[in-house]
Symmetry: C2
Subunit: 367 residues, 2 copies
C-alpha cells in the first residue's frame, strides 16, 4: 500500500512528519529557469530525465518551463508519464522482452514515444511488437561513447543497426543515443570537457556515416547535469537529457566549476533526532532506507560542524556538533535519483511553510 503524505499544505516545515522528501520550491524553480537560460544560446532542447524525479507533476513543470519532453529508463516509467498526460517520451535505454515491448507499443496510441536499441535481434522484436499493435515505432541507436555498458560501437556498427531499423516497415530510425554516464562525475571541468570532446568526435563521425547512407538523425540525444554545456555547445546534440539539475545532490555539488555550479540544492530529506544519549552523538530516523548512500553519505544542511557519519537501515549518526532530541534536520542526499525512488510523496516548501504535496507517481516503476 501507499504511505500517507507526511504533511499537509499550510503546515510549518517543523511540523512535517519524518523522514520526508522535502522540495524547496524556490530553489527548484530557480533550477528549471536556469537550465532553460543556459541552453537557450545553443539551440539544444531539454528532454529532462524522469528517472530523477519519477513524477508527472515535476515533468509538467519542466515542460511548462520549456522542456520538449521527457526521458525515462523503464517502460513502467513511460506508462506513468503517458497516463499522466506527458506527450513526448523517450525510453533512453534498451528494453528486452516481448511483454514489455507490447506495453511500450501500446503507449504509441496516446503519446509520441521512442526507444533505444543496441542489438539487431532485439530490433526485430521491437518491430514485431509494433506490427502487433498496428503502430510505427521510433527507434534510436545507442552508441557506446565511453560508458562501456550498453550501446553498439560508433561508426559502421551503428550505421548497420540504423539501416536495420530504417528497413523495417514497422519502425522509424529515430536518431542516436550517446550518453557518457561516468563523465558526469569527473570532478574538474577540464576532465569533463575532454571526455565529452571525445564523445562528440564519435557522434560526429557516426552522423556523417549515416548521412552518407541517406539516414538523417531526428534526435541526437544524451548529456547529463555534469556535462551538458559541452554537448549543447557542440552544435551537434539536439536534445539534452539532464535530470539531476532540478534537484541537485551532494555528489553533483562536489563537481568543480562548469555550468552546473549555478544550480541550487532543492531536494532534502527531513529527519528527526530520535536518540541523543551522549554528548557529540545524535541519531536521526533516516538511515539508508530513507536516503541513498551509493554516492556517499548525505550532507547536513546549515548546521555548523555537524556531519552525518554513518547509515544503518533505519538510523543515521550525526557527529561533530550539538543536536537535541526531537530536533528536525535537513539532509542533502548524496544521490538524488535513488533517494526519490524510496518515497511516495514530495513535500513542497517555501518560506518555512508546506505549499504542496506531490505524489512520486513512478516510485518503484522498475519494469
Amino acid at each position: 500500500m501507499l504511505q500517507p503524505p507526511p504533511a499537509q499544505p499550510g503546515m510549518r516545515e517543523d511540523e512535517v512528519d519524518t523522514p520526508a522528501l522535502l522540495l524547496d520550491l524556490d530553489a527548484f524553480e530557480h533550477n528549471l529557469a536556469r537550465m532553460q537560460a543556459l541552453l537557450a544560446p545553443s539551440g539544444a532542447k531539454l528532454r529532462a530525465h524522469a528517472k530523477t524525479h519519477k513524477s508527472t507533476v515535476v515533468a509538467h513543470r519542466q515542460l511548462a518551463a520549456g522542456a520538449v519532453g521527457q526521458c525515462v529508463q523503464k517502460v513502467a516509467e513511460a506508462e506513468i508519464l503517458a497516463w499522466g498526460g506527458i506527450a513526448d517520451i523517450l525510453v533512453s535505454n534498451e528494453v528486452v522482452g516481448d511483454a514489455k515491448l507490447a506495453r511500450f507499443a501500446a503507449l504509441a496510441r496516446i503519446a509520441t514515444v521512442a526507444i533505444c536499441a543496441d542489438d539487431p535481434a532485439n530490433v526485430a522484436r521491437i518491430a514485431a511488437a509494433a506490427e502487433a499493435a498496428c503502430v510505427r515505432l521510433s527507434v534510436l541507436v545507442e552508441i557506446d561513447v565511453g560508458g562501456g555498458r550498453c550501446g553498439v560501437q560508433p561508426g559502421p556498427e551503428a550505421v548497420a543497426l540504423a539501416q536495420a531499423i530504417a528497413g523495417s516497415p514497422h519502425l522509424r530510425f529515430g536518431g542516436l543515443q550517446a550518453y557518457h554516464g561516468r563523465a558526469q562525475h569527473f570532478r574538474t571541468p577540464e576532465e569533463r570537457g575532454q571526455a565529452i570532446g571525445l564523445v562528440v568526435d564519435d557522434v560526429r563521425r557516426t552522423v556523417e556515416q549515416l548521412r552518407q547512407q541517406g539516414l538523417e538523425c531526428p534526435i541526437i540525444g544524451g548529456a547529463g547535469t555534469g556535462t551538458f554545456e559541452h554537448e549543447a555547445a557542440s552544435g551537434l546534440y539536439t536534445e539534452i537529457q539532464a535530470g539531476s539539475y532540478c534537484f541537485m545532490d551532494a555528489d553533483y555539488a562536489a563537481n568543480r566549476g562548469g555550468a552546473s555550479a549555478g544550480f541550487r540544492h532543492a531536494l532534502f530529506v527531513l529527519a528527526t533526532v530520535m536518540s541523543a544519549t551522549r554528548p557529540g552523538l545524535g541519531v536521526v530516523d533516516a538511515g539508508h532506507k530513507a536516503v541513498a548512500i551509493d554516492s556517499g553519505m548525505p550532507l547536513v544542511w546549515e548546521r555548523e560542524g555537524v556531519r552525518y557519519t554513518g547509515a544503518s537501515d533505519e538510523h543515521g549518526k550525526l557527529e561533530g556538533g550539538r543536536v537535541s532530541l526531537g530536533e528536525k534536520i535537513r539532509l542533502v542526499p548524496g544521490h538524488c535519483d535513488p533517494t526519490v525512488d524510496r518515497y511516495d510523496w514530495y513535500v513542497g516548501v517555501r518560506g518555512g511553510r508546506v505549499e504542496c504535496v506531490w505524489p512520486v507517481s513512478a516510485r518503484g516503476a522498475m519494469a
Copy 2:
C-alpha cells in the same frame, strides 16, 4: 501508485517480468522451521523482525511456524502489521514526536504493543500519548550493549529510566531491549560469541539491579541472525529478534560457522540481460534501484564464473562468463532488508513455477 505484480500464479519462472523479487518457497519454509528447531532447546521465543520482510503474509507464516510476535522499527510498520491482524508487536526502536506517538498509542486498542525508550523526557511524551488515548503502554528500556548508537548505559542509568516508566500510571515497564547490531556481521563464530558474551554480562548485571529495585523484566529482547544462538543459550534472553534468517543474503552468508550457516538463500532478484554487445560483458536490468548494494554487490546464482561487478541506477554489469540477451538471471542480494523495501510484490516460486504473489505491504513505511 503501486506497481502491478510482475507475475501470476501458474507462470513459469522464466516468464516472470523483471526486475522481480523472487521468494524460493521451499528454502523459505526450511528457514522458518530451522529457526524454531534451533530455538526450541533454549526456551527463548522468536519475535521475528518485520523490518526484513515488510509483509503481513510473511509475518503470519512466521507466527504459524511458532513465533510469538513481530518486531518493527517504525510506527508505520506497526500500523501495517496491526491492521493486518498481527496481535503482538514490539517497536524495537525509539519513537520521537507527538503525532507518531499518538498513532502508536491508537494501536494498543487492536493489538498488544510495546515500544522502546532511552530518554526520560521522551518517556514523559509516551505517557502523555497513552493518557490521551486512554490506554496503558508497555515501554522497554533500550540499553547500549556495544552498538554505540541508541540506548542508555547498562546498570544504574537503565534502572533510573525503568523506574520512571514504572512510576507512570499510564505506562508499564516492559523489560530490556539489548541488541548489538554490528556483532551480527563479525565474520568468525569466536568474534560473535565473544561480543555477545560481553552483551550478556551487561544485561545480567542490569537485570539484577532492576530486581533489587523490585522491577522484573517481562521481555529481555535482542539478537539477530548472526548471533542469536549465543543470546538464546544465555538463559537470560526471553525473545530473539532475528529477521534475515527467513531470507538470508550474501552478507550473512559470508559469516563463517554458527547456527545461521544452516539457513538457505530464499530471496533473489530476478533480472534480464538487456544488453550484451561484446564478449564477456552482460548488462542486466537490475541496478541499485532494484538491489541494495550497501553491504556489497549481489552474487550471481548458479552461473559458474559470472560475477555482478558494478551497479548504476538501472543497470548491473555481469562479467566473467557468457550470458545471452534476454536471459534471466537470479541475483542473491548483498543485503535483504533494503532490497525488499524497493519492491511492491514478492513472487513466490516452487519447482520452477510461480505459486503466489504477496504484497510487500509495509514497503516504504518509514515514519
